[in-house]
């Protein structure tokens, strides 16, 4: 039953999208909801069938695509990718359900279904080229969503989004091809299979260059400072659904790829670049948090706060130990839920007033109490209040990095404090005080359609904050195997030290060899 579940997860929405062209435009919304529910159920079935005790890849599929050049259609899922896949289907479902009246709704839903295909593909691909195919392909539906349904600057924003990411990815492609060539030199076989690449131990000089090539592709996607300038435009111009998917899933491709590619392939380079990357992340956390405080537009506040939180994810990833990486993977999920929900909430108010400027509002808590309550919960989650989803991830990420550098961790922690300041300030401007504008007096509270999307997110945000174990468990065991792999692959002494080994026996063995070296 589970043999081809990953392929069905990828191609079911695509096929449904093709058939979607045949549906009459009055019924397309129902069709979209039905398809996305089926897709979500498929993802839940995947979770049901997932064996928590296995840390490696599960549900693997492999079909030769270009065997003479070592390209195979290889899929697999482990604890790290499983939940991101579920999250992506979850958000596509909620996004389609909450879709407000849009012109050309049929094109929108078909596009969303294609986007779902590429998202599922990126997270389950285990072949570098297949990964790259979905990675690039995901740009096209997003380009269309921003460019066709966005605000006044939509064309500029969509092209900027596309070109930025496209350029970075092409450099990454050169890196991938070089990696494959090194593998070919070492083994005599062309292969783009990630699991086979994991077994290759590279000299540090190669690792540094390859790390840099991959880093450019991933960092632009995340987006890390100083490559982040495309994101505020994309968020500012995108329609609600576009921002939601972009923040919740597409940005996670970059951070996921760090965990999947950069760390296990280049452990020495990861250690080498740990401090520079962490410094960039700290700048990103603090700087964008300050920029967020200066925004007048509520959507921009959330966009910049989103970048700021991505910085914490990167810091957690580059802690290079189990706590940090598990925390960052969990924070990817948390950030997806929270940022996605906040963008949905902004969409709610935008639909009513067609403005996102905070000074236009004030006192909304009086007319829209339910809306204010949900917004409050999500805001607290975003700030990282204990017992909400983000707290778990942020805490673990920072804890992990504390072991590497207390000072940088402290600096990153101040970002969270600034985060509390700007979020609470924004909340005050929107919801408290007197109603100053006449138009705001008659606003209707959230309706059923919006609640259908928002309530599940609130539940998830609190449930995983109180009891993260069902998700954190599988993530943890997969991360442990990655850290172990990195430790074993590391060649430099510093890397061996920075990346902790989980098996105690191995440490002794290594000490032994170093002693022998000294004796010579």
């Amino acid at each position: 039953m589970f043999d081809h579940i990953l392929s069905s997860l990828i191609f079911f929405p695509a096929i449904a999208g093709v058939f979607g062209f045949m549906i009459h435009k009055d019924s397309i919304r129902t069709y979209g909801i039905a398809v996305s529910i089926v897709e979500f159920v498929l993802a839940l079935v995947l979770w049901y069938g997932f064996d928590n005790s296995v840390s490696g890849m599960q549900f693997m599929e492999s079909i030769p695509l270009v065997p003479s050049f070592g390209i195979n259609y290889t899929l697999g899922v482990d604890g790290i990718s499983l939940f991101i896949v579920i999250l992506s289907t979850f958000f596509t479902m909620l996004g389609i359900m909450s879709l407000t009246d849009t012109p050309n709704v049929k094109n929108m839903i078909v596009t969303l279904l294609f986007l779902q295909m590429t998202m599922a593909g990126v997270f389950v691909a285990l072949d570098a080229i297949v990964f790259y195919v979905f990675w690039e392909l995901s740009l096209v539906p997003m380009l269309y969503i921003i460019g066709a349904w966005g605000g006044p600057l939509r064309i500029y924003a969509s092209i900027k989004f596309f070109l930025y990411t496209f350029t970075g990815s092409l450099v990454m492609l050169v890196g991938m091809l070089f990696m494959a060539y090194l593998y070919y030199q070492a083994t005599g076989i062309w292969s783009f299979n990630l699991l086979e690449w994991y077994r290759l131990i590279l000299p540090q000089s190669y690792q540094l260059w390859l790390f840099a090539a991959f880093f450019l592709g991933f960092a632009i996607k995340v987006p890390m400072f100083p490559f982040h300038t495309w994101l505020p435009y994309a968020h500012g111009q995108a329609p609600t659904i576009g921002s939601v998917i972009l923040a919740a899933i597409l940005l996670k491709m970059g951070t996921y790829a760090f965990v999947r590619f950069s760390l296990p392939l280049f452990p020495d380079a990861s250690v080498f670049f740990m401090v520079p990357v962490a410094i960039l992340s700290v700048i990103m956390v603090i700087y964008t948090a300050m920029v967020a405080y200066a925004q007048k537009d509520i959507k921009q506040v959330i966009a910049y706060s989103s970048i700021s939180h991505m910085g914490i994810i990167i810091i957690g990833t580059f802690a290079l130990n189990v706590e940090g990486i598990s925390g960052s993977v969990f924070l990817m999920l948390g950030h997806g839920v929270v940022a996605g929900a906040l963008f949905l909430l902004v969409g709610v108010i935008y639909d009513r007033r067609h403005t996102k400027i905070m000074s236009e509002f004030g006192g909304l808590a009086q007319v829209m109490p339910r809306y204010a309550a949900i917004f409050g919960v999500m805001l607290m989650a975003s700030v990282g209040l204990p017992l909400t989803i983000n707290f778990v991830g942020e805490f673990l990420s920072l804890l992990g990095f504390y072991k590497q550098s207390p000072i940088l961790t402290l600096l990153a922690g101040t970002g969270i404090i600034v985060g509390a300041i700007y979020m609470l300030a924004a909340y005050k401007k929107l919801f408290f005080g007197e109603i100053t504008k006449e138009e705001n007096k008659n606003l209707t509270d959230v309706n059923k359609r919006e609640l259908v999307a928002l309530i599940p997110l609130v539940i998830v945000a609190i449930w995983l904050g109180v009891y993260p174990k069902p998700v954190l468990g599988p993530i943890n065991s997969s991360v442990e195997s990655i850290v172990e792999l990195m430790h074993n692959k590391a060649t430099t002494k510093e890397a061996k030290m920075r990346i902790p080994s989980l098996a105690k026996a191995k440490v002794i063995e290594i000490k032994h060899t170093t002693v022998v070296e000294e004796a010579h």
């Binding site: 270009v66 740009l139 092209i159 596309f162 092409l170």
Partner: protein
Amino acid sequence: MLSPVDISLESLNLSTLTPMFIPIVGALLILVVDLFKVNLHKSLYVVLSLLFLVMDIFSLFSSSDLFVRNGITLGVFDVMIVDGLAIISQFIVVGASLLFIPLAMTHKRFHEFSYPEFFALFLFMIGGFQFMVSSDNLIMIFVGLETSSLALYTLIAMHNREKSFEAAVKYFTMGALAAGFFSFGAMIFYALTGSVEIHQIADVLRANNFENISFVLVAVVFLLGAIGFKLSIVPFHTWAPDVYEGASAAMAGYMSIVPKIAGFVVAMRVFEFLIHSGVAWLEVILYIVVVITMTASNMWALVQTDVKRMLAYSSISHAGFVMAAILIGTTQANSALFLYWILFSFTNLGSFSMLWMSRQKHLPDYQQSDHSYNKFAGMIKTAPVAAVIMALFMLSLAGVPPFALFWGKLYMISSAVTSGYIVLALVMALNSAIAGYYYLKLIVFMFMKEPVEGYDGEVYVNNATLALKTIIGVAAVGTIFAFVAINPLLEFISAFVYNSGY
């Protein structure tokens, strides 16, 4: 008194000429038909040409069988050489022609297709290209080059518009100069080595260890100039945009594929031994030419306001990209060249056919040229299927996976990486990113702008007939499902290129 030359017919191996003879016989037949009965409908000529091209393909299959069994075959006093390069490139030439000729079946009436001479010249041209690629004799190459070029000039002029004459004359003048360059280069090589056969030139030069290096370089520069004209390599590219603009869109698409693959094969034959001989200068010259061709033409393409001119510059850029294979010169690179060009021919012919299908007879006021960008504004609302197909071709040209051209780029960049040309690989990658912008520009116009007042979808399918739609369908399917065909193609091409010694 001279003793009679005694040569057995057997040793001439005339069967090597079969693939070239078929289109030539076809051309003669069309002329004969015209002698007996005038004013026949163009469909007759189209189908006749198609039939002869199909026969040509079959004869190519038999020569490829022969190649697999016996290796390289020489014929006609060793002037003809049937090796892997010749066979693959003839497949591309004839295959692209098969896709091109049904484009004559437009809905609107165009001047040139009512003449049977058009089709006769077309078939003569194909014969010329086939001679050009299956010889390593510089004189034979020259004859093939000129046959095909003269026919091509006429075909462009027959479009019968003001700009077409300009284009044809421009192309003719430039072509004449290129012919001069070619003969000069060949002459110097002959003076140096006493032979016009490339492999003998290589042997002699290697034997005397490139004594007259300065003369060799002069000859190389002349030949590079001549071939550069054919391939529209910067700085010999200036004719290309104007000629593409003057020619009909279908012809422009054809010109961006077929003459160039013939040029690449000649370049491969001429330059390969020179690259491997370690003459450093040549590598530097080629390196500069490749990088400038890719980059500069991308820059020019960015500022075009007409889609056809944009595609013209983009074809120059693609030619530069592929020229890198000649520079790299490994088996993988040479295979990548053919793979790239096969995939490119599908995509590019498809996109030019889309323009051809939307060709109007009279331009409305706000449209400055035949295919200005704003003509395509809001196409998704008025002609959704056509817009999606056009976007598909653009994405493929930009190298977005999994569409056809991505695989070509992948293999090409990989061959650069494998041979240690990392910087070149990065330049190639970044150029693909720059190119992304102008392909995207058309997508932006089609998908994100509002349609022009008073336009219905009619204009985009103005010229559509079943024949045109079929060709575009074939190109689109080829573009989308390319990933299925990559492996067999790659194995076929690599084996043929490797066994030809390149």
